[in-house]
């Protein structure tokens, strides 16, 4: 036992909880950013935004229904639409059951879609290479270290997989599609046609705060359970406690990665919207074309990391083409002088055209 007794028995159990909270806040920040970006493209891409709303409501209602199922309240009504979701229990249960079902509603959407993706990921990768989180610890700092190590080990495998993803493999392609779908919907906040009320990160946090403030005893009860589990795993010298929180941390990482990828796609859509037609289609054609060309080229001239190289070439060529189109087909990267020059040239050309037409 290296740590002080007060550290071991009071602060150590808090380490993975704080670590998880940190990740959860990062997740919330990314979600808020995604909500902002989606609201920016709402007018031009209403169907896409409606689809993201539907996904968000779908996850939320499923989580709520799951909450009622876990608490054995039953489900009497289940309605999902693009802008509305409703789950009604068969039996109205009060107390702990109500609290648990509400916890599923507010916190579930942050983790449950990621859980599906994690299961898919575990099935995809070599199961022998996959290791479950472990780590027996006795102090706050070592708890944080173990939590971090578990997350690092998982992140390494996850990012290696992502950087080697093979779009010619239907299972990998399916994983990528699911990753985007999870990223688009992992957002309890609703984006509507009209802003009737402000629904954002603060609103989400308020819901969670209300849930906790409504029944503070239950929160205390949760902490007591957490401490008991920690003491049991500590005395039995097992890493169950940190493993549990590390597992939730994994889900958070998956959610963050999926949101980042989705945000990159939304940013790409937003930029291509600025291009005039038919140039706006070109970046969309470049994505599959560059990847297929690279894959075929590397199939005939094999090198190591062919999947990663193809991915990098695809991403870079798409960025480059989009940048060049934005530079030469829009005024985005032009200074005022350049814009003036371009306008003058346009005027001159118009005058020439008019002269020609009058002569004719």
């Amino acid at each position: 036992m290296d740590g002080l007794q007060i550290d071991t028995f009071v602060f150590a159990p808090l380490a993975p909880i704080l670590g998880l909270l940190l990740f959860w806040f990062i997740q919330l920040l990314f979600i808020e950013n995604q909500r902002y970006m989606l609201s920016k493209i709402w007018h031009k891409h209403e169907p896409l935004c409606r689809f993201t709303n539907f996904l968000g409501i779908l996850y939320q209602t499923i989580c709520h229904a799951l909450g009622y199922t876990v608490t054995r309240s039953g489900i009497s009504d289940f309605v999902i639409s693009v802008d509305y979701g409703k789950v009604a229990p068969k039996k109205e249960k009060k107390g702990v059951f109500e609290w648990v079902s509400n916890a599923f509603l507010f916190i579930g959407p942050f983790f449950i879609p990621s859980l599906l993706l994690l299961i898919y990921f575990i099935l995809l990768i070599d199961s022998s290479a996959f290791s479950f989180p472990t780590g027996h610890y006795d102090s706050f700092s070592s708890g944080l270290q173990n939590f971090g190590t578990n997350l690092y080990r998982f992140s390494e495998k996850f990012f290696v997989f992502l950087s080697n993803i093979d779009f010619f493999n239907p299972l990998h392609f399916g994983f990528f599609i699911l990753l985007i779908i999870v990223g688009l919907g992992i957002r309890p906040s609703y984006i509507g046609e009209t802003k009737k009320e402000k629904i954002d990160m603060v609103y989400d946090l308020k819901n969670v705060k209300n849930l906790l403030a409504d029944k503070p005893l239950y929160l205390l009860f949760l902490f007591v359970i957490a401490y008991i589990v920690f003491y049991i795993s500590f005395f039995l010298e097992h890493g169950w406690y940190v493993a549990l929180f590390s597992f939730l941390g994994w889900l958070s990482i998956i959610a963050i990665v999926s949101i980042i990828i989705t945000q990159a796609i939304i940013l790409f859509i937003k930029n291509t919207d600025e291009l005039p037609r038919p140039w706006s289609f070109l970046p969309y054609i470049v994505i599959p074309l560059s990847y297929v060309i690279m894959r075929f080229a590397l199939f005939f001239y094999p090198v190591d990391f062919s999947n990663s190289i193809s991915l990098i070439v695809m991403i870079l060529s798409t960025i480059l083409i989009t940048f060049l189109l934005l530079k030469y087909k829009t005024n985005k990267f032009k200074t005022k002088k350049n814009i003036k020059k371009a306008e003058e040239e346009d005027d001159k050309e118009e005058k020439r055209k008019r002269r020609r037409s009058t002569k004719e």
Binding site: I80, V82, F168, N169, P170
Partner: protein, 366 residues
């Protein structure tokens, strides 16, 4: 003026003008398109499974293994769709695709490259399927005019049906998730004749009703429930129209404009009665003028001969006059009663309106 426009204008009735001309949204036939989509995805997956996956050794036993796997799943999906959507045609379609593939492989001896053949065949069949669905979609034309809705369609056999707004009793509107996302939906106008209503039948042991005959494949026991639901073929409903909300409102307004309210019905009855009375009056006047004309002619001819009878005639005409006057008075009384009734009805309706308005005003005040 284009030929199509000319044809359309020739089809119009008197005082009719077109409000909207519509055709289904490209994604509104997603059920059919998803059949093609599944075919393409499954074909690509089988090709990958046989040639590039970790399980490719499983298919090394025979060249027919990929074809069997591909066909088996295809038929299973067909059966599942048949049972779930009660559409036998899906199973027949997949059976036809599978039989076509097997026939081509045997005929051309392509057993050695069966997996590649499956990929190419699936993609080709899907493209053909997509084209047929698109052709089918484009064959639909819905014309909403101020008097009626015309449903036109058919690839080979041209079908047409019109529904007048005054015959529409109910409007059924539905919008799926895809419709909610892309803003399209289906509107079924239900008429008094039952046009726009279909039925769902369920059987005790999973039998499937096929055009009145029960399929005995799974039907161990017959009987069941029949539920009338709004349903029509895509040619007889406004299938997958865009923009859904706008069109729905337009149709509801047009139906509303063509429906006679009870008050209007009463007014029409009064007008009918008025016309009858006026007719009676006209007939009476005709008879009066006729007798007046005839009377002097007869009097001149028989002036001298029948001087003695004059007094008697005068007495008769006075009697006739009295009779006519009596009849006129009766008709006038009828008119008076009718007008009274009309006024009463008007007053009643205005009182009802005031009563309806009052609470609204009270609410506003509150």
């Amino acid at each position: 003026m284009t030929r199509k426009k000319k044809e359309r204008e020739e089809d119009l009735l008197r005082n009719e003008h077109i409000e909207r001309m519509l055709s289904p949204h490209p994604l509104s036939f997603m059920k059919l398109q998803s059949l093609c989509l599944f075919l393409i995805i499954w074909g690509v997956f089988v090709y990958w499974l046989v040639n590039f996956s970790d399980w490719k050794s499983l298919f090394s036993g025979s060249e027919w293994y990929p074809v069997i796997l591909w066909g088996l799943i295809l038929l299973l999906v067909g059966i599942a769709a048949w049972l779930m959507a009660v559409r036998f045609s899906i199973f027949i379609l997949y059976l036809g695709v599978f039989a076509g593939a097997v026939g081509l492989i045997i005929w051309q001896n392509w057993e050695a490259a069966s997996s590649l053949f499956i990929l190419v065949y699936s993609v080709a069949a899907s493209i053909v399927g997509f084209l047929i669905v698109e052709l089918y979609r484009r064959s639909h034309k819905y014309i909403i005019s101020n008097l009626r809705i015309a449903f036109k369609g058919g690839i080979f056999t041209k079908q047409e049906r019109t529904v007048r707004y005054d015959k529409i009793t109910d409007i059924n509107a539905k919008q799926g998730i895809l419709g909610q996302i892309f803003g399209f939906g289906t509107i079924i106008p239900i008429t008094q004749a039952g046009f726009g209503l279909g039925s769902d039948k369920s059987f005790a042991a999973g039998g499937v009703e096929l055009g009145g005959k029960k399929a005995k494949l799974f039907g161990l026991a017959g009987g069941g429930k029949e539920v009338q639901i709004p349903r029509a073929r895509s040619y007889y409903e406004l299938h997958g129209i865009y923009p859904y909300k706008e069109i729905k409102k337009l149709i509801e307004n047009l139906v509303q404009d063509n429906v006679i309210t009870p008050y209007q019905q009463e007014q029409v009855e009064f007008q009918k009665q008025q016309v009858d009375i006026q007719k009676q009056m006209r007939d009476l006047l005709k008879v009066q003028t006729k007798t007046k004309k005839e009377r002097p002619a007869a009097a001149l001819a028989k002036m001298r001969e029948e001087e003695q009878e004059e007094e008697e005639e005068e007495e008769e005409s006075e009697e006739q006059k009295e009779a006519y006057e009596q009849e006129q008075v009766d008709i006038q009384k009828q008119m008076k009663n009718l007008l009274k009734k009309q006024l009463e009805v008007k007053e009643d309706s205005s009182e009802e309106d005031e009563e309806e308005e009052e609470p609204e005003e009270e609410k506003k005040e509150k």
